[in-house]
Point group: C2
Chain length 328, copies 2
């Protein structure tokens, strides 16, 4: 294992310290317990959005803390759920006056811990569970479908609604609606390597790839021989549209997400292939996002996400956002 | 070689098509010959900034085309200089009324081709050559020092000046001044793989790294055993500050740049180490940038850049920028 780290046990702390120092205008970082909050606090009367999950998916979620998106993020150790006390401390630190919406990717550990935190918290709260990954039902850490890069779309759209004054019930319904309108699928050309493990999570041959991989390296649909980008994208697109069943003429948000080790040049090439497939099917690519947003450490690979977006979602997508990883 | 591509010969074209389609509000992409220009054209009376170089360093340079930064970028094939006709076509397409400033990284092929294009172009033009890499004098493709990630700082600061109405002579002097105030050094944990070559550019043992590597995988200062992030950053910091000789109390822009295959979590950890060294030396980290800006395909590694920044540079750094890869 070759990584830019010092001691394995200090990776998360030192990375968070760097993140906080680099973005001191946007966020505050707390280390005991670990959470990241929006600098200046949650505006009075605004629903507070709290997300989190295992680290190793950066910029998800801390990179999305700021105006127009999240109020707090709780990073667990790499690929490990944050603890209820982290979530509770983060939520309590916000002094939220209009309730708290938890946005949780569908992994058993995250679900259990966020539920415990919500129970301990009391007060007005609700939870949106994201499960956009169409690749497999049930997986290594998940009952049902996994929550992956589509979570970014949920956090952006609901974050804008909360910023505009939507109440907790509206934010909850909207979050569930965006999640249901979103499908994703990922592929891996290489494994990732968890620092504490010191070796690749799984083995892939020099001519193999994993179709439908999870963001922790969980198995996908099948191990296949390496294919062209077009063939890979076609399979991802087919899987997503079989699930979402978008109508011809429907506007979509198209997200090509890098897994961490794949260069931008390839991601734009993948986007080109995905966009053509959308157009061939009569879908209107209304908004696009290409880059590393929900990663899997150093994994080479990517995911494709499609959100069927109505005018309300598109307007919220366009609303200003000011975070470390998304800004417009 | 496992890459998300179709045919090796089509990588650049398909990636540019994707880039243009994803950012149609910001850029126009021309394929014959290949160049990327700012959507809506160069404002009348504004100095036009034109950069370019071999592809494989994305988002550099096309990702920096837009308001407040570049007017055009000319991407060559991977790690290959663009041709004079590309540069000429890009420059002529701008209809620049206040002259053209070329920003060129110091590689022999780029220098020669940009000089030829400038000669063919005639009219008012000037060139800023960046050579911020303190690692080595003379290298595989370079006489003198190489131009690397510090080029991003030059393009941002001069881009803001041009947007604010600075004339060609002022932009040229400013560009040279920012370049002289900037030092960078890179390291590689793995090689990159050029699609047309199909295999890694160089070999690194499982416990080795290259200290001072170039952004095409050119040799650095020495091949060493893998070290901790702190030790790596200390050596980069020492090399840069030996060259720049910043004074205690001096404000700096601190840039931690990923080479393409290194996750953000590690880049923030590197930033944390670099920032501490700056502070220990009495430098004031006035602005920070962490992410993938001047990459080397899928290379794992990073570079550190420090710019001694006066108030003028900091104000220009803060000025609005609206490009695919930098936006505030």
């Amino acid at each position: 294992m070759k990584k830019l780290i010092n001691k394995v046990d200090d990776v998360l702390t030192e990375s968070l310290l760097g993140f906080g120092a680099a973005h001191g205008d946007l966020v505050s970082v707390t280390l005991e317990p670990k959470f990241v909050t929006r600098a200046g606090g949650t505006p009075k009367g605004k629903v507070a959005l709290v997300s989190g999950g295992g680290s190793g998916h950066e910029p998800l979620h801390a990179g999305f803390v700021g105006k127009g998106m999240l109020d707090a993020a709780c990073p667990g150790e790499v690929f490990t759920s944050p603890t209820p006390d982290q979530m509770l401390a983060a939520a309590e630190s916000l002094g939220a006056t209009a309730g708290i919406l938890f946005i949780v990717k569908n992994y058993a550990g995250d679900i259990m811990n966020f539920e415990m935190a919500a129970e301990m918290l009391g007060g007005d709260h609700a939870t949106v569970v994201t499960n956009d990954d169409v690749a497999v039902e049930d997986s290594l850490y998940t009952q049902g479908r996994r929550g992956v890069a589509g979570t970014v779309v949920v956090e952006k759209v609901v974050g804008a609604a909360a910023e505009a004054g939507a109440d907790l019930a509206v934010c909850k319904v909207l979050g569930d609606r965006v999640n249901a309108a979103t499908g994703s699928m990922g592929i891996a050309l290489t494994s990732c390597t968890v620092p504490a493990a010191g070796k690749p999570t799984f083995d892939l041959g020099a001519d193999e790839m994993e179709m439908g991989v999870g963001i922790h390296g969980e198995p996908g649909r099948r191990r296949v021989k390496m294919m062209t980008a077009e063939a890979i994208v076609a399979e991802m697109f087919q899987a997503i549209t079989s699930s979402l069943k978008p109508k011809s003429g429907e506007p979509v948000i198209l997200l090509v997400n890098g897994m961490g080790g794949t260069p931008l040049m390839e991601l734009y090439l993948v986007y080109n292939a995905a966009r053509r497939l959308c157009e061939d099917r009569g879908l209107k690519v209304a908004r696009s996002l290409v880059g590393n947003f929900c990663t899997s450490l150093d994994m080479a690979g990517c995911s494709l996400s499609i959100t069927k977006a109505d005018d309300e979602m598109l307007n919220l997508w366009d609303a200003p956002v000011h975070t470390a990883a998304l800004r417009w």
